[in-house]
């Protein structure tokens, strides 16, 4: 399960791309060019990038709203993301949904919905289908502490366990669910404790150590692929911004935030890259310059993209919708004539 030099370089690029793309999004948000909230991955990049990095070609991922890094690892492009956050007509969701809520099925990337926990049984159903079709696919989804409180999570894990379905649920322990601290969200000592009640395997890993996350996630993915059933991988990390950019996070402890800022996952990986000689400061600077150039182009391209135009017939709700199109069209201005 050694993470090779080439893989470490790829990981570094994913981590930095996640952070720099997010900084572009902050700028767009402040310019009023984004639609809706901005849910930061800041401080959690090693978990978002590292766990998804353990998946293989053909595997499936359903990230949740804060997992920009995972979405990029799975093959979404910065311009896809930027069009999504600006709800452009050529965004993957065509302006009908925003942010990370989109599907790229050819890349094994599927959309969660806002209701937390729902993706667990959905990803379980995906791999149930793949198993039936003879594919050894693993499905992965992410959830925070809040998500593990939902009935949907418990039902989904229970179903997946009974069916021995190959799913990995990455439990991002990031200290807060919106404003609610972890001790108000969960009475168990760890989120991984929840695995025992369903007879599934679990592990806890330092979510700010990207190499540790990759190695633990690879073990979890292998466990699932070998037919042992679901795996809960708890990654201990920290959400350094509020629930979204509007949230000033007045409820958090400043010392706690300062401590976790010192534990920044990217700076930590950079120290490792220095010590191991995998990627020195000059080489990292070159990576940053390359990403900056890519993002300049992506922002320009996404800003130039058209906004979606309303359809007088409001089509696209069902494949066969002729009967309803006529009724819907009556609601358009002057529809009744």
């Amino acid at each position: 399960m050694i993470v090779s030099t080439e893989q470490q370089k790829a990981l570094y690029r994913h981590l930095l791309l996640t952070r720099l793309l997010e900084e572009r999004m902050v700028s767009l948000y402040r310019q009023g060019k984004m639609t809706g909230g901005l849910f930061r991955c800041l401080g959690q990049e090693a978990t978002a990038v590292g766990a998804a990095f353990a998946l293989e070609e053909g595997d499936l991922l359903v990230p949740i709203i804060r997992d920009l890094g995972a979405t990029l690892v799975r093959g979404a492009s910065p311009v896809d993301i930027l069009r999504q956050v600006m709800t452009k007509a050529d965004a993957p969701a065509r302006g009908r949904d925003g942010f990370l809520h989109f599907c790229l099925p050819e890349k094994g990337l599927y959309s969660a919905i806002a209701m937390l926990g729902t993706a667990v049984s959905v990803v379980a159903g995906m791999v149930l289908a793949d198993r039936y079709l003879g594919k050894k696919t693993v499905g992965m989804t992410y959830l925070g502490e809040g998500g593990t409180s939902t009935g949907a999570f418990h039902e989904g894990i229970n179903f997946a366990s009974v069916q021995k379905l190959p799913i990995v649920v990455v439990l991002e322990f990031n200290r807060y669910s919106y404003s609610t601290p972890s001790e108000m969200q969960c009475g168990a000592a760890t989120l991984a404790d929840k695995a025992a009640g369903y007879g599934v395997a679990s592990a806890i890993v330092d979510g700010n150590d990207v190499l540790a996350v990759v190695e633990a996630a690879r073990r979890a993915v292998s466990w699932a692929r070998e037919g042992n059933g679901p795996f809960l991988l708890e990654c201990k990390t920290y959400r350094r911004k509020g629930h979204a950019e509007h949230d000033g996070q007045a409820y958090i402890d400043a010392e706690e935030l300062a401590e976790w800022t010192r534990r920044d996952p990217i700076a930590r990986f950079e120290r490792h890259l220095d010590a191991s000689g995998v990627l020195d400061a000059a080489a990292r600077e070159a990576v940053r310059a390359e990403i900056d150039t890519e993002l300049d182009a992506a922002v320009a391209e996404a800003e130039a993209s058209p906004v979606p135009v309303p359809d007088p017939e409001f089509r696209g709700v069902r494949a066969d919708e002729e009967a309803t199109v006529k009724r819907r069209a009556e609601t358009f201005v002057g529809g009744l004539g």
Binding site: S121, E155, N158, D320, L336
Partner: protein
């Protein structure tokens, strides 16, 4: 329990057997069709709608699940996104409340949001009349029939139960298929020859008449036909429209009938307030106002939970005398 071979049956088949036949025929025709539900495999379903299917198609295709309605629908959604055609049984349709989020937020909105359809069917017994109390008797179609993205199907005959279920399984998007448990063994007929699929979204006129139109569905259809027979003896010819699908609504068939009879009586077992009747009444008011000779009337269940005791339940359900009284009132205009 015969009739597993496609085509006209030599004898009458019950509504519940028609469901089982449709499932078997579709599973035979299309290897992508799988079933998920509680007690559907070894036990054959609480009402035996899936009896024998585990033996025929195996545990990979007939999956007994834990009591996890939300996860069953979630798993069906996921499986459909990977190319299967899952059919979920709700042991009682009341339990779809446990999966409301998955149905209305995940499944119903998926094509609109992402461009990818979710071809799943959620089927099971709804309706009262068998003394099953407040949690096993509901008609929850109203909760779903106003959710864009869903289709809501409510068959009233054995042939429609088979034919509409086939159409539902072949549909590219989520279909809620509300069977009526009172009809399971009461409704029976010789099934038509051939595939027998019945298109979703088309109502049917079950009895023609010139004096007034009764618009209804499900187990209220036989009641409406009984009433129409009684009215005929009084010289009143009632037309009976069986909606068969609530979403999308076949408003053309309803409006055509009302424009002919000029009087509309809307009959449903679901509660009154914001029931299907309200939507039909509004549609008639918008589009057939000039043809009306009388107010649009509704005969429905009252806005209460469904009581357990047989006598209380009988009073709760729309009955023949109430329906006849309303029809006579309309006819008198």
């Amino acid at each position: 329990m015969s009739g597993d071979v496609s085509g006209r049956t030599s004898h009458e088949v019950t509504y519940v057997d028609a469901i089982r036949i449709a499932l078997g025929e579709e599973m035979e025709r299309d290897g992508r069709v799988i079933l998920l539900g509680e007690d559907i495999g070894v036990y054959g379903g609480a009402f035996k709608a899936t009896a024998g299917l585990l033996e025929r198609f195996g545990p990979q295709r007939v999956i007994d699940t834990p009591v996890v309605e939300e996860a069953i629908v979630g798993a069906a959604i996921g499986a459909s996104l990977r190319g299967l055609r899952p059919v979920v049984e709700m042991q009682f349709f009341d339990f779809a409340a446990r999966a409301f989020d998955m149905i209305t937020n995940f499944a119903a909105k998926h094509r609109y949001r992402t461009g990818l359809g979710v071809p799943i069917v959620i089927r099971g017994p709804s309706g009262a009349g068998v003394h099953a109390g407040p949690f096993h008797s509901q008609s929850p179609e109203g909760y779903f029939a106003r959710t864009p993205g869903l289709a809501v199907v409510v068959p009233s005959t054995a042939a429609d139960a088979r034919g509409l279920l086939k159409a539902a399984i072949r549909d590219e998007d989520p279909v809620l298929f509300l069977e009526h448990k009172l009809l399971y063994r009461r409704a029976k007929e010789i099934l038509p020859e051939g595939d027998g699929a019945v298109p979703i979204g088309k109502a049917v006129v079950r009895r023609t008449g010139r004096d007034l139109t009764i618009v209804t569905y499900g187990a209220m259809v036989p009641l409406a036909l009984d009433a129409a027979a009684g009215l005929a003896r009084e010289g009143v010819e009632a037309e009976v429209v069986d909606l068969r699908t609530l979403l999308p609504m076949d408003e053309e068939t309803v409006l055509e009938s009302v424009r002919k009879t000029s009087k509309a009586l809307l009959l449903h077992e679901d509660a009154r307030t914001l029931g299907i009747g309200a939507e039909i009444a509004a549609t008639i008011a918008e589009k057939a106002f000039e043809w009306l000779d009388a107010p649009v009337l509704r005969v429905t269940a009252p806005d209460t939970p469904i009581p357990f005791a047989p006598g209380l339940e009988a009073a709760y359900l729309p009955g023949l005398s109430t329906l006849l009284a309303a029809a006579r009132r309309l006819a008198a205009y």
